[in-house]
């Protein structure tokens, strides 16, 4: 092979490529197995998968789907957990289990929306601001600092009061103070990565800004962004619950974990399950996201 490189047959490349790709796949598997070997991470993943499955298949899983969506059932008001109503019923007699499942739909979907759209807006802006130190970059940085200098929940509350309370507006109101965190994270990463020689090598080959941003910078900042997305899902669920709890988010009769906690608050001493059940659901999912995100971060960090 050394004497004549052209003697290599072109179709043997496919076999070569297959071999290497298989090896790389093995490494990925190994990483995943290491992740799942951590008991806490494994448990968190199970909780998350169950919560997600329950949310997706709510109409088939929930015992009383109509009540989950808000149908009133006044004969069975405030019933404690029983065989008919596993987790009891609320003030309007609705089955708590169904409500929690349907509420999970709103909370999980809302949280995911917030985080993904925040990243969707924040990451490109951060890439641009980090790579360009000119006026456009400076403007983006100042806007980010403006947002970060106020507590985000305060901004979200002000915005949802301005544009009206509701499930959809609450998500928008939360995306607005949320994206600057991604911009700042990405900007910082880019500032260090753009010093790397491979960026200079690409510049030397005459490649333009956008090419370098998307082919060289973006793939190298995805790891911290993915970890931040995972770790942010918990806080996003809490934030949307908070807005619902104070009446600025999801409106009754829709179910939302934060809203359900608020609905149960007047009767917390006698009918505790109305607040505790959605509270626990939120707690478990948020903790699971955090533990899983942390574990993923550790594994990715140790792989460099």
């Amino acid at each position: 092979m050394k004497d004549n490189p052209m003697a290599v047959q072109t179709d043997s490349y496919d076999i070569m490529a297959q071999k290497v790709i298989q090896e790389h796949r093995k490494v990925k598997w190994f990483q995943l197995r290491r992740l799942l070997k951590r008991r806490a991470a494994f448990l968190s993943l199970i909780i998350l998968v169950l919560a997600l499955a329950a949310a997706v298949f709510a109409p088939w899983i929930a015992p009383y789907p109509e009540q989950g969506q808000g149908a009133v059932n006044l004969e069975h008001r405030l019933q404690p957990p029983s065989s008919n109503y596993v987790l009891g019923t609320d003030v309007y007699g609705r089955d708590m289990l169904s409500r929690v499942i349907w509420g999970g739909r709103i909370s999980l979907f809302g949280g995911a929306c917030i985080v993904f759209f925040a990243a969707f807006i924040g990451v490109p802006l951060g890439l641009w601001a980090g790579y360009n130190e000119g006026i456009s970059g400076a403007v983006i940085s100042r806007i980010v600092e403006l947002f970060l200098s106020f507590p985000s929940t305060l901004i979200a509350m002000a915005i949802s009061i301005l544009i009206g309370a509701g499930w959809f507006t609450a998500i928008i109101a939360l995306i607005i103070p949320w994206w600057p965190w991604y911009t700042r994270l990405v900007q910082g990463e880019v500032l260090s990565i753009k010093q790397m020689l491979y960026v200079e090598a690409a510049q030397m080959l005459g490649y333009g800004k956008l090419y370098i941003i998307f082919r060289h910078l973006l793939p190298n900042i995805m790891t911290p962004v993915m970890v931040m997305i995972l770790l942010d899902l918990g806080p996003a669920i809490i934030a949307i619950g908070l807005l619902s709890f104070i009446g600025l988010g999801t409106q009754p009769p829709m179910a939302d974990w934060g809203l359900m906690v608020w609905e149960g608050a007047p009767n917390i001493l006698s009918e505790w399950w109305i607040s505790i059940v959605p509270g626990c659901a939120m707690f478990m999912v948020v903790i699971a996201f955090n533990i899983f995100g942390d574990a993923l971060k550790d594994i990715l960090d140790s792989n460099g």
Binding site: V8, T10, V20, H24, Y198, L205, H216, G304
Partner: protein
């Protein structure tokens, strides 16, 4: 052989320093000041100097990676000093660079094939369908195996990574390659490999090198001519063979004296220069070296020395080089500077 491939005319690279609130620089870091230099086709020109004297910046300025404040860079006769990125593209293929840290100069998320393809895109002689074939050829040139093309940079050792960088530089079919301390991150045995590879490729493709380093022993081995840089200026250019045996500039002598000798019984003390490296933001007046020079006189602090030819392709910038040369002080003197 005597055609100059690149000629630099009085180039300056200044970086703004200490910006005011409105972004106007209050002072400048003069990383490269008034450098004129010819690089002859087919040679390997060494560039030595202390850390922070501007050698890397000069290398980058030639490739238009560092900003050029003033001056002309002629590459095969064309002035590329003022071209913007779009017009530079055809020249980019002809001039490449190999960096100090091979690990940092390869994108960790790209396979070797992708990395090489990126460079091959500049090579107009290679069609897109042939990238795979060409990549394998390139890897073979640098003694790597074909199956390496689908691997990621972290799966290689430092020496292999540096060879991949050399392959990438060769992919565009260049005439001129800058090696920016390309061997200093590698251990000695690997250094030797990379250097012999460099020389082999130079003969094969008739390349011209600019070899930036602070390792004088490698310099003597690899280069045909050596330029010595001090505080942003080139103070001496000479054939590599005679530069350190018969230096014309006191600083060159000092550099040579600072190299430890691997013989504990030789009894020679290291000639360490007194004083500090001058700040590039505020270099000394006149000759930049005068505050540390043992042979300085009044004129040294007032007038910047002119370029004096000492041979066909060599020159020195020192007011008293003739006197020092005649007295033979720099050649055999045992005293340390």
């Amino acid at each position: 052989m005597n055609e100059s491939l690149i000629s630099l005319e009085q180039i300056n690279t200044w970086f703004p320093n200490n910006k005011s609130l409105l972004g106007k620089p209050r002072s400048w870091i003069k990383a490269v000041s008034d450098v004129s230099l010819n690089i002859i086709e087919g040679e390997c020109l060494g560039l030595v100097g202390e850390s922070g004297c501007g050698k890397s910046t000069l290398g980058r300025a030639i490739l238009r990676l560092a900003p050029l404040s003033s001056g002309e860079i002629r590459f095969m006769g064309d002035d590329i000093g003022k071209l913007d990125n779009k017009w530079l593209k055809p020249y980019r293929a002809k001039m490449q660079m190999v960096f100090q840290d091979p690990k940092a100069s390869l994108n960790p998320k790209m396979t070797i094939f992708k990395i090489l393809s990126e460079a091959l895109a500049l090579n107009l002689r290679v069609e897109k369908e042939n990238y795979l074939e060409q990549s394998v050829k390139l890897l073979d040139l640098v003694d790597l195996r074909p199956e390496h093309i689908y691997r990621y940079p972290h799966e290689f050792s430092g020496g292999q990574q540096q060879r991949i960088c050399i392959a990438r530089a060769l992919a565009t079919d260049p005439k001129f390659i800058v090696f920016d301390e390309a061997t200093s991150a590698l251990d000695v045995s690997v250094q030797a490999q990379v250097i012999s590879l460099m020389r082999e490729l130079q003969d094969k493709f008739n390349l011209t090198y600019l070899f930036i380093s602070h390792d004088l022993s490698i310099m003597e081995y690899v280069c045909t001519r050596v330029a010595v840089m001090y505080a942003g200026q080139i103070i001496e250019v000479q054939d590599a063979g005679s530069l350190f045996d018969a230096p014309r500039h006191p600083y060159t002598k000092a550099l040579k004296n600072a190299v430890p000798i691997a013989d504990p019984e030789s009894g020679k003390e290291l000639g360490i220069l007194k004083g500090e490296v001058p700040k590039l933001s505020d270099p000394p007046t006149g000759c930049h070296f005068h505050p540390r020079c043992n042979y300085k006189e009044d004129i040294c602090s007032k007038k910047s020395p002119l370029v004096c030819k000492t041979g066909e392709n060599s020159w020195v910038r020192c007011h008293f080089h003739e006197k020092l040369w005649k007295q033979g002080i720099l050649i055999n003197s045992k005293e340390s500077l």
